[in-house]
């Protein structure tokens, strides 16, 4: 008698988690990483809020007196505002010239007409949450508006630089041969000029000709066109390593085109390198933007960024108004610290070999 052979129940198929799932799991266990991710997310939300005008839309309104004190030190003396008030109060009545002034007969009529227009003189606040700047604008809101420009410049420039670096690195690493030689030559040219000089050379041309566009476009282009070299080098090394691996050969065997192998097969396997580089470059570009804007080669004067705030802060400090320096310096320090810690955590989470 033969037993009926039942089909053995196949064990439930186990999905092996991919690189990103694993990285996310590792990142979730990293307290520092999650906290910095939260801070960075907060800043990005704030930028989105400011950009759409939900938050700090009225940063440009002159709400307080000149150099209004921060709320927590309301009692401090504000000599600048007093001086302005005294100047306004001291306006003497105009000298009576009615005998020779040809317009004199009409003054009365004009005064009556002026009286009909109601002017709502808003009372200027003595204190603002984090103090006011020279024109009595709220420094806290100004810092928010400043972070919008600074972060926007940092992010877009880093994105441009990463795309440029990845494209060139992929080409050099994948094709090798003369493409590689040419791009290496190109890389050597860019790296043999000290970085800051390269930036200033581009800035000089951008400022003199205006060919790089207007507004924040020049600084984004300058940072991206000079900052791709490090990313290029790393991505190139990865492509050299990967282009001879079996999975790429297998892809070739089933007829995948060169472009498909470069970007569909290899790119996802090196994208973690690009992501870490992107995050690192955001930090360094934000720092660079601040310095360039301070020197006057960055964002235009009618825009506010952390750099232009610091430029104002230098003179304010001498008369004892420290809050603008504090607001711009501190918000930048918090974001940059969080971003660098996040970069470190990302690198640890994405690189299984470490630990």
């Amino acid at each position: 008698m033969s037993a009926v052979l039942t089909h053995p129940v196949p064990p439930p198929r186990q999905e092996s988690p991919g690189l990103w799932t694993l990285a996310w799991r590792r990142l979730k266990q990293d307290t520092v990483g999650m906290v910095s991710l939260g801070v960075v997310a907060f800043f990005l939300l704030m930028v989105a809020g400011v950009a759409t005008g939900i938050v700090a839309g009225d940063w440009n309104k002159e709400k307080g007196v000149s150099y209004a004190n921060p709320s927590f030190m309301a009692g401090a003396e504000n000599l600048e505002a007093k001086a302005l008030q005294q100047r306004d109060a001291a306006k003497a009545a105009p000298v009576d010239l009615s005998d020779i002034d040809p317009l004199a007969p009409r003054y009365k009529e004009w005064e009556e007409r002026a009286a009909k227009i109601s002017i709502t003189e808003t009372k200027r606040a003595e204190t603002l949450p984090l103090g006011g700047d020279k024109w009595g604008r709220d420094v806290l809101k100004k810092a928010m508006k400043g972070s919008e420009i600074s972060i926007l410049v940092g992010l877009t420039a880093a994105l441009f630089a990463t795309v440029l670096g990845v494209m060139l690195g992929a080409a050099a690493g994948y094709w090798g041969g003369w493409v590689n030689d040419f791009l290496e030559w190109f890389y050597n040219i860019f790296t043999s000029i000290p970085y800051i000089l390269l930036i200033l050379a581009f800035a000089a041309v951008a400022a003199a000709t205006g060919k790089f566009g207007k507004g924040i476009l020049p600084i984004i282009l300058i940072l991206a066109l000079t900052g791709w070299t490090g990313i290029y080098r790393l991505i190139r090394a990865e492509y050299i390593k990967h282009s001879n691996r079996e999975y790429v050969k297998a892809a070739q065997a089933i007829g995948a085109s060169n472009a498909s192998r470069m970007f569909v097969h290899i790119l996802p396997n090196v994208s973690h390198v690009a992501l870490v580089q992107l995050s690192q470059h955001v930090v360094s570009f934000i720092k660079a933007e601040v310095i360039l804007s301070f020197l006057g080669f960055g964002v235009p004067v009618d825009m506010v960024s952390w750099g232009t705030m610091l430029a104002e802060a230098q003179n304010e400090l001498v008369i004892g108004k420290w809050w603008q320096l504090f607001a711009a310096g501190a918000s930048m320090a918090i974001l940059v610290t969080a971003f660098s810690l996040l970069t470190d955590s990302l690198r640890d989470a994405l690189d299984p070999k470490i630990k």
């Binding site: 200033l200 041309v205 003199a208 720092k287 940059v336 810690l341």
Partner: protein, 301 residues
């Protein structure tokens, strides 16, 4: 090296003569007539064909004669020679002090690796690196120069010793303080890379005291990447810290470059960029040669 140099010359040429093109309108000012602009073009040589302009530029590079500044009419070579002194007065001490301090601290931190002291110092370094250089300069110039009055707020004199002892200390201190954190972090990682090597374990196993292991075995091997890093930093010594020079009104190269960029003074920027690129290449070559003395495994083919 030669192809790279040719590339640098080509890049600078393309950037300034082709993209930058014709700054005659900028130089002529707002009120200008076509004749003036034509004259300026002729003076600058930008009305020549590109190939002729390139040839002129190459000749300028190799004869060290970039003509005169577009804005001050001073000879470019003279500008470079007179401005390099103050820059080196500030930057050489910065590089020396920073490297020595960073190596010493890195050894100490690597020695107590993983302990709270190490973690604390690393955390401080991360935060210190996040604050903008600008904020440091603005704050400490105000504190030491304006409030405490320990150092002059800014200035420069004719005498070298007075400069070094009176005007330079505050900028030097600031640059060292800011540069220390990243160097310290980097050098610490170099030391930690070496500490986990087999030869270190062997040295410990045969009873070499930990201090000797650190100072002799680990230090010598960590010096190789440290040397590379100093080689990377070295060209920056000649560019100078333009922020420091602007803030402390030190008449150095960095400030000159900023002024030149502000005035669209292309000859000065071109000259500085080309020569510093050359210098960087030479320094890289020298660092490669020095590897041979530090690392006996390296040999020239």
């Amino acid at each position: 090296m030669i192809p790279t140099l040719a590339g640098v010359i080509l890049l600078i040429f393309l950037l300034f003569n082709w993209v930058g093109g014709d700054p005659a309108h900028v130089l002529a000012g707002k009120i200008s007539n076509p004749e003036q602009i034509k004259n300026i073009r002729k003076q600058l040589g930008v009305d020549e064909p590109y190939l002729v302009q390139l040839w002129v530029f190459v000749k300028q590079v190799f004869t060290f004669d970039f003509g005169r500044s577009w804005s001050t009419n001073e000879e470019v070579s003279r500008i470079l020679l007179t401005r390099i002194g103050p820059t080196l007065t500030v930057m050489v001490p910065v590089l020396v002090i920073e490297t020595v301090l960073a190596v010493i601290f890195a050894v100490m931190v690597a020695y107590v690796r993983g302990r709270p002291t190490d973690r604390g110092i690393m955390a401080i370094c991360t935060v210190a690196m996040s604050i903008s250089f600008l904020v440091y300069i603005i704050f400490f110039q105000w504190l030491f120069g304006f409030i405490l009055g320990w150092f002059p707020v800014q200035g420069w004199s004719e005498s070298f010793t007075k400069n070094l002892l009176t005007y330079a200390p505050l900028p030097i201190m600031l640059a060292v303080a800011v540069g220390l954190a990243p160097s310290l972090r980097l050098y610490r990682s170099f030391f930690l890379d070496e500490i986990n090597q087999d030869y270190v374990r062997t040295a410990r196993a045969k009873g070499v005291p930990e201090k000797v292991v650190m100072m002799k075995h680990v230090m010598r091997n960590a010096l190789i990447p440290i040397l590379t890093n100093v080689g990377i930093l070295l060209p920056g010594v000649f560019v100078g810290s333009f922020l420091l020079e602007v803030f402390f009104s030190i008449p150095g190269l960095g400030r000159e470059i900023i002024t030149a960029v502000n005035r669209s003074d292309f000859p000065v920027i071109k000259a500085v960029t080309v020569y510093l690129a050359m210098l960087t290449m030479i320094i890289n070559l020298l660092v490669d040669v020095m590897y041979k003395f530090v690392d006996p495994r390296v040999s020239f083919k």
